[in-house]
Amino acid sequence: MYVEFLGVPRQRAGISQLEVQAETLGQLLRTLASEIPPLSEFMAVDRLHSSFIANLNGDRFISDPATPLVKDDHVLILSADAGG
């Protein structure tokens, strides 16, 4: 699946997207923290810090680490504080 970063996560990751294999959101986040260490500040084990959020395919926002993911999913990682 593709993971796309927006805002601060993109800046920290240094890339806009990458391809990752994972079966759940928690597994995906653990993989990201391992492969892109600057992102680990925004994660606690298999969850994002409350100021960040994941979105599945541009539709629904997800936070449960057990959320299943499939091969063609597109996961976005962004700041949860949308205001300004």
């Binding site: 100021s51 959020i53 541009g58 539709d59 926002f61 700041s79």
Partner: protein, 575 residues
Amino acid sequence: MPFGYHGCYLRIDVSNGTSEYVPLSETVLRQYLGGSGLGVKLLLDEGAAVMDPLAPEVPLVFAFSPLVGSPLTTSAKFAVVSKSPLTGRINDSLASSGFAIAGKACGCDAIVLVGRVAELSVLVIDEAGVRMESAAEYRGATCRATETGLKARLGANYRVASIGPAGEHLVRYATISHDGRHAGRGGSGAVLGAKNVKAIALRGSHRAEWANPGELTTISKSLSKRSFGPATAKYRELGTATNLLTFNRFGALPTRNFQSGTFDEAASLSPEQLSTTRSKTRESCVSCTIGCEHIYSLGSGGVRVEYESLFALGSLCGVSDPEAVLRASQRCDELGLDTISTGGTIAFAMECVERGWLDEPWLVFGSGDALLRAIDLIGSRQGIGNLLAEGSRRAAEVIGHNSIEFAPQVKGLEIPGYEPRALQTMALGFAVGARGADHNRSGAYEVDFSDKVDRRHVTLDAVRHAIDTEDKAALMDSMIICKFLRGVFEDFHAEAAEMLRSVTGWDVSAEELRETAKRIVSAKRQFNLLAGWTPAEDTLPERFLSMPLPNDPEASLSRQRLDSLVAEYHRQRGW
């Protein structure tokens, strides 16, 4: 008198410079705290709701808070509260920095201005008392020039809030500026301009004692430490402007007067792109450890870049040239114009020109030159600027053709950069907002960007979340503490109670503060009821309720659904 307060407000009749300190009871202070809450309470007591917002007798309140002057990060803030000349409803605009500390150091918890001085004047409050001085030499001066000039005249340790040319010309969305920041929305600058007051210069030495300084220091250190963490990374590292690409990605970036939720050229205006071609510095308000202000180079100077300015003067007007958008933002700051209402009103006019309903052929979407020209005309009320200075709702009434259906406003206040069809909890927040469409008094967008709702198909379950964000905002705006800190709190109400206990000595609880927030929201509604509010005002323009977003058919909001959300909101409020 409780700790943290002076227990009085300073009421000044600028007609003749007379003033008096009016006592504030501990009960009132505990019930309304400060900032927005205290401001609304004072306006209600003054009977402002039934007055013409630009009449001499109408009061204009600068309200401070118990936390101002404390070591708590982001607490140097003040609220400007009045009846809005743009909406005819309650208006509370907040701004930051040294003016708040200086105002409280004048020995009061609020300053209330009434009257109208004969000549353009500066109101000076210092150790010598209250006096009016001539501001003739600052007629037509920008906010920055006025502030700089007055500091040179009076002394560098005065703190100055001023209006620009737009306030002098009573543009209905003129701001009050201090130190490059603005009490921006709703036209408080026009209210001050109508009093013929160009600026207020403050210097004081009074200090409100704290109930428990040791505990306050501990709380302050903890809060400051957390303010350097992940919860504020967005504001520190990219600023609010980072919303631009995020909102565009979700089809929620208002474009060409809300005709689309995506802007093909959004990347050219993004902070990520701007920082590749321009130098950038960061600044902080006094007493703030976040440092959210990102200043980009422009010509020989710099301009503060915020999301709302980028959206309103960029995508909403179809302008993708970053030089034009940054210059437009800078020009609004100089003239003292609210960038959201400026961009919203110009974008509305551009669509009217496109439809052949306004004979200003130069005023077209995408033209940076047209944008800049329109801003200058608005600031001086010349040509078409005289109509646009009235805001999009009044302009629509003059233009006709039922253009009110796409005038981008609620209660007359132009809509901020959140496409309501793509963010439907925010749509509710806009519809019911006491001061009109507003993202600072309702943080409902946070709900849309969460797993609590389906943002394009919200149900009645979203209503309680929208109410929670509105109540929280009312509390933060009254204590006052910056909303950019909101992510650092595990339990905001509990921590807010700790802060207030350490400053005031009150045995205040989280539950009491929840009730306080509801009281303040209700006070705003009471003001609006007295001012003539009707339920029909709690809605959105027809455009949002009759057509989905072109590129996202799922982003569709029917009148029936919005009406049911609003009705449920009123029911849960007990109104």
